[in-house]
């Protein structure tokens, strides 16, 4: 299912966080949002998973205006892996993953056999099955991230939005997670900090700076020395990945070279 941000603007307390952002995520594609801290990436995502109502502009899923859909309804189509992974009580991993079914269930309705299988499959995919009975509060940051993604998958969404999903993950799990996103067949909008991973994992990239979309397109077209210098204020050489040909950045700590 297509996801489209159309002229999205968010103003909070007089501050303009996102300005006139238009971005399209075609069905089944992985689109990355990159940009410096405070450039409005997370704010834009929050409008998609409906933690925030845009001040103007619309978010459309398959031609439908998101704000016209009941919250519960859109949660069956869009799942999110958010930054607030904090849990207040010591739920087990299994219990947190099962909460991904909440938008599909009424009240305290128990999970069906199929839904339990779904949870187990997601825990297998994220390599957390062995943690099933552990309390989430005892997990490492990386393990917790994987629990949150498993919960999002259990939601059976068509669209997945992720806010810095590779945070706290070791290299192997970073690579595995992004490979999983690519193989999932879902429509994915993901905020990433690591430009090299973004270039490797995404079909298209959108670059945000001070709330505005300053560039978008295929990673090779977007990630140029000039753009990285302009937006991030960093000197970088762009070289093609020797195996995949994806653009990869090599940073220089000395800004004069």
């Amino acid at each position: 299912m297509d996801l489209e941000l159309d002229g999205l603007s968010v103003v909070t307390d007089g501050k303009s966080l996102v300005r006139d952002l238009s971005l399209e995520v075609p069905a089944g594609r992985v689109v990355g949002l990159v940009g410096p801290n405070g450039s409005g990436k997370s704010t834009a995502l929050r409008c998609v998973y409906r933690a925030l109502r845009p001040s103007s502009g619309t978010v459309r899923v398959g031609e439908q205006d998101l704000t016209r859909l009941p919250l519960r309804h859109s949660a069956r189509t869009i799942a999110a892996m958010t930054q607030d992974g904090g849990v207040d009580f010591d739920f087990t991993v299994e219990e947190v993953v099962a909460l991904g079914r909440a938008p599909h269930l009424r009240g305290n309705q128990a999970l069906s056999g199929r839904e339990r299988d779904l949870c187990e499959r997601a825990m297998d995919q994220l390599d957390i099955r062995h943690l099933a009975h552990r309390g989430v509060l005892t997990l490492s940051g990386g393990e917790r991230q994987r629990v949150l993604l498993a919960r999002a998958l259990v939601q059976e969404p068509e669209i997945l939005v992720l806010d810095e999903p590779t945070n706290h993950l070791d290299v192997r799990h970073q690579v595995d997670l992004l490979a999983l996103l690519r193989a999932s067949g879902l429509t994915v909008l993901v905020v990433l900090h690591d430009l090299n991973l973004a270039a490797a994992a995404c079909d298209r990239l959108g670059v945000l700076s001070q709330g505005r979309l300053v560039a978008s397109g295929a990673p090779a077209d977007v990630l140029t020395t000039d753009l990285v210098a302009d937006v991030f204020g960093v000197k970088a050489s762009v070289v093609p990945h020797p195996l995949t040909g994806d653009p990869q950045l090599l940073y220089s700590l000395d800004s004069t070279r």
Binding site: R46, Y49, A51, L71, R72, H73, A75, I78, A79, A80, T82, Q83, D84, G85, G86, V87, D88, F89, D90, F91, T92, E95, V96, L99, A102, P103, L105, G107, N108, Q109, A110, L118, E120, R121, A122, D124, Q125, L126, D127, R129, H130, A132, H133, R134, G135, L137, T138, R146, A152, V154, E156, P157, R172, H173, D176, L180, A183, S184, G185, L186
Partner: protein, 384 residues
């Protein structure tokens, strides 16, 4: 983490590494999770609730029999049966019957109701404001009720309501306090958990100051004992008259809260996550706030503010059955009711004919339990 062969919603996708997880699990330290997993199954939970209900029933009968005049459980049951079925009793038994049916039964039943209600409300409030240290009174309800009760006592207002004047005054005070807290903590339709708690704490302090002022200028000492009553709690004023109202409100509150089980689970994952799972956190908090204020207000109006039950019971129950609120809300009211029946029994028998304030006993039990709980390894206290 494995790369799936197919997308999760469609594919069977159990990958080859599933087998590798097996041994890892076996060697993993068996912490509280193992115990919890066993207690988690529905059958075990139902059985546990049935056992607790039986214990509660037995506790009620025993507690009704005990007091200055001790009545054996068998005889107590006989009198209760006579009262319920409209049966006959011999003329020599009338005094005992009256002690049992008119004095002790409403009191013990009220204790059970309030114990159940405080425990359930404590569970809901802790999830709602996302704070493991919250209790039913954190939102200013009890101090508001105290001001209402003391105000009515001192001024002689609401005299037309007779013996119910104090309760009505307390309830009104509780509602005013809740409304103030709500108005002061909501901003642009949002109800932030932290702001809710902070406002509640501030309002409580304000109400306590008002109460101190009333006492200071009060013409007699009745107000002073009134304060002790409201800050420590007692079931001494229990009558059949107020019981139906309390029972209706508390039992309805328990039922509704239980239905909110999964919603509370989702709320305790944080507002962002709640929204992404299709739950409007602010809307649910508002509904819960109304519900919780109403139930707490009614309980405080008839029994004063009994501390620690609503704080400690949720944690004790969570340690045994785990965090999911549907489970906690099934067990906590029963445990709270049993606890409160025995606390009240201790309060009226330990130093008879005088009565200890309930808060003294709940604190004596609650404080050590609470500290032991916090220090216990393996129980993570709200991640802090």
């Amino acid at each position: 983490m494995k790369v799936p062969h197919k997308p999760p919603p469609a594919g069977p996708g159990i990958s080859s590494r599933a087998g590798a997880a097996g041994p890892a699990e076996a060697s993993a330290p068996r912490s509280a999770g193992g115990v919890r997993a066993r207690l988690a199954s529905r059958k075990v939970l139902l059985l546990g609730c049935a056992v607790l209900a039986a214990v509660l029933l037995a506790s009620v009968v025993v507690a009704i029999g005990l007091g200055p005049a001790v009545v054996p459980p068998g005889e107590t049951a006989h009198h209760l049966w006579a009262a319920l079925s409209g049966g006959r009793i011999r003329s020599g038994e009338v005094t005992t019957y009256q002690i049992i049916w008119q004095i002790r039964t409403p009191r013990v039943l009220l204790a059970a109701l309030v114990g159940a209600g405080l425990s359930a409300v404590g569970v809901a409030i802790q999830a709602m404001v996302r704070n493991a240290l919250a209790d039913p009174f954190v939102l200013g309800v009890s101090s508001g009720a105290s001001v209402g009760a003391v105000g009515v006592t001192v001024t002689g207002g609401l005299a037309v309501l007779g013996i119910h004047a104090v309760s009505v005054g307390a309830f009104a005070g509780a509602l005013v306090a809740s409304l103030l807290v709500y108005a002061a903590s909501s901003s642009r339709g949002a109800l932030s958990p932290l702001r809710l708690v902070l406002t509640g704490v501030a309002m409580s302090l304000g109400f306590q100051a008002v109460m101190s002022l009333i006492i200071y200028f009060a013409p007699d000492s009745e107000a002073t004992s009134m304060v002790l009553y409201w800050t420590m709690g007692s079931f001494g004023a229990a009558t059949w008259g107020a019981l139906p109202v309390v029972a209706a409100v508390v039992l309805a509150g328990l039922a509704v809260l239980y239905r909110y089980g999964r919603t509370l689970d989702v709320l305790s994952l944080g507002d962002e996550t709640a929204a992404s799972l299709g739950f409007d956190p602010d809307r649910h908090r508002k509904v819960l706030l109304v519900l919780v204020s109403l139930v707490t207000g009614v309980m405080v109006a008839v029994s004063g503010a009994i501390a620690f039950v609503g704080l400690v019971m949720p944690h004790v129950v969570r340690m045994v059955v785990g965090a999911p609120h549907a489970r906690v809300l099934a067990v906590a009211p029963l445990v709270g009711a049993i606890f409160m029946v025995w606390v009240d029994l201790a309060a009226r028998t330990l130093v008879a004919p005088r009565e200890l304030p309930l808060g003294v006993i709940t604190a004596l039990v609650g404080v050590p339990v609470f500290i032991a709980l916090m220090r216990r390894r393996g129980y993570t206290f709200g991640g802090r």
